[in-house]
Amino acid sequence: MLDTFLGDLGHLMTIIAFVSSLITAYAYFKTYQANEIEKQSWIKFSRISFAIHGIATVLIAGSLFTIIYNHRFEYFYAYSHSSKALPVHYMISSFWEGQEGAFILWMFWNVILGAFLIRINKVWEAPVMIVFALVQAFLVSMILGVVIGDLKIGSSPFILLRDATQAPIFQVNPDFVPEDGTGLNPLLQNIWMVIHPPTLFLGYASTLVPFAFLMAGLATGKYSEWIRPALPWAIFSAMILGMGIIMGAYWAYVTLNFGGYWNWDPVENAVYVPWLVLVASIHTMITFKKSATALKTSIVLVIMSFVLVLYATFLVRSGVLGDASVHSFTDLGLSGQLLIYMLFFLGVAVFLSIRAWKHIPSSEREASVYSREFWIFIGATTLGLMAFQVILPTSIPAYNALIESFGGISNMAPPADQVEFYTKFQLWFAIALALLTAVGQFFWWQKMDKSKLKNALITPYVISLLFSAAIIVFAKVFDWKYIILVVAGTFTIVANATILAKLLKKSTFKLAGGSLAHIGLGMILIGIMFSSGYSDIISVNMSGLTYSNSWEDEMNKEHVLLWINKPTQMKDYTVVYRGRHKKVVGVPEYVPARILETTPEVNKMIAKADYGEYFKKGEEVDIVLEENDYFQIDYFQNEVLKFSLSPMSQFNEGMGGLISSPDSKIYLNKDLYTYVAAMNDYSDPEWKDDEIYEVAPGEQFHVADFVTYFDGAEVLEEMDDYVMQEGDIAVKAKLRILDYDIEKVLEPTFIIRNNQVGKLPVIDEELGLKVSLENILPEENKFVFKVNQYQKDYVVMKAIVKPYINVLWIGTIIMLIGFSVAIFRRFDEFKKMRDKGLEV
């Protein structure tokens, strides 16, 4: 049944949300202008209007999720992003797989943040909420789906499938509802994809808060007072955005076969850049609070971080990246709208800043080299340059689009080796940052001059040199660039740990945010250096083949071909591929696919054999996502099985193709990271020519390369899938085939009914064999077998050792804790001042 109610509700709420956001902006503008008597009624009206907007936004999200949850495939969004086989937690991912859902998520966070601000701010409410409401108006317009003439505003997630596609079926039957959706992109079927997007979008949304305070400050003449309420939010935003980035990196590491956590892909760069600028702005804002300098820099940085988030959204979602990114985002025709959105706020911000510029207090005094302002400023500059170095080449596709829109031709392309290109700059900037954070922290907490600085730094310097020397020797870091990085990283850890120890002794944990975050930074740098710089591909050049061309022989082949059951030596391990497996509900380990048979029903299979105490032959079992194949690979050392890894791959017809996901063995000091890059396709085998064997029971012979025993045959009284009739004779032969340490039993059957011969061949997909019992020759006591070969099952795998990757993950956690401590402290400060009535 076609049901349009949910879609109509969603669409109506979208329109209400749009209109109410404009009304809210207007009402808050009136509140701001109104005199004391009228103010109360205007503020009440504004809040009601914002509440309506909030409720509408929640209902938009609710309708869309209900559509997905109830499998309403008459809606294009559910049809193209979900399917019946999806478990509930992945339906949540379906919600934001599409861009419309992502915009709804963004709006939702803005509503929550807005509601918070109304509650906790007294003086700032009206001007800040004007900015909020305007941003919301732009965001809602992205999903408005209104067409006026040739102008299309927004892309609605509530359109019906029949309106979205021109499939001929809808001419025959307009009420046609598809049975199932095309499913969720398998890459997103990961628990990190359930929590990564909301985190990232909360990060995106929260950059609005400091920006809104800044705009409010500039417009109302509070040129410096905006910093106090904005600061905790700026730190909050940096923390959440940073967390989002790390989650994304971790997701890439555990689900994508890029071979790592960071690829310098435009989509990754587009979030990294605003984060860097945001962190720089936090530092200048804190400096301003301490010493009334760097206000102008803070203003510029806060504007930049907000606009860069919009620019990132534009780059990623306008389709302008095109060929440049491996992440594909379809162009929904929103690029113009996104551009207007970005330019509007950039324009407003620039206008307000220029108008206010001469009133903004700035210190004429030149900062001394021994002042913290100087060092923080250098640090912020370094962060800015890092951001600049990344955004410049990332924007190459945008320049091309710009030049082409003016009729020009540009054939510029992003750097061919992105990792090398970005690393060569970011490495040195990162070293500079590490050193600056170490020195800067000493300046921060005490007045310094030349001799004092020397005294303060000498101990941490010596300690960190000793530590670095130990790391360099034990972990064999012999590249000079990496040696410098280790020293810089250790230095910042030791120096900041010294400060931290002093702070904890003297005062409270509350002040420890900065030093914790910087310790995290040092660990992150060292972790990245080891896990990326010293990652070791252990599956390299294993085939022993020589190639016809000399140039090809010189190339490193990074993958290894593993035939099923065949032990292959790979560095310290002997690895054996053990065939495909499935994940069965209620069974802790993966179950071999060879004992399961597909049924027409989704995620249901029939057991072909008993499996421990979990299920019996003939039972129906529930599969967790039946498209997923797990390729079990056993790792032996000294003939002892050490562990098994099961990298996954999924064949998803709806999404068109195979997608593979890695599996890693995690040690304390390293990860062994593996994924399958190619595999056997035995869905439609091309059988080779017939091979005929005449064998007597008890005899041993060779089928293909396999040693095979013909143990004998038996006459069957009844058969599993076949109803026997009076006079039928069925004979089953038992062949035992040895493949390395595995023994397989193949039992082809031969049936005689009314002088007609029927043959039931057996196919073993893993061995790539089809065997049938062709004839029985009683006088010679021989059985005739026909064998067709295809090829043995195989996988092509890559295995990489990533040393000390845990240092990176621990470092990020420490950094996030540091951020949290800082948020707590700054918010506490704000609250105390507010409660004293000194909010501005």
Partner: protein, 138 residues
Amino acid sequence: MKKGHILGLGIIAIAIVIIMTSIGDASSYEDFDTAKEMMLDGEVKAIHVVGELKKDDTGEVVGLNVREDKVSFTFVLVDNNGTEQEVFYNEPVPADFTRSESVVVIGSYKNEEIFVADKILMKCPSKYQETEVQAAGM
């Protein structure tokens, strides 16, 4: 000169270095003819070539040659000018390679016969078209 000025000049200098290397290291979109010229001129920079896989009349991809150990392969790419070129890729065949609409190879000529791709980007049939076909098939 004030310290601030020196600092400013330093920042500008670094920014200029960044801009120059970005332009210098930027790759470019070429076709096979210009790419071959670049190789003959001794330029070793990796470039982008956009093209399609060679197909026979029935739409089947031809010229795909997977090495015996399955860890590398060659294929024939037809660039936008219609020039055919054998391309070597030192990786297993990507999953939906033969289904791709267009292929971007990033690499350079090894010698006059063979183009070696360091990286391949594939553009697969977009989801919208996919949907049409599927809905029509139901």
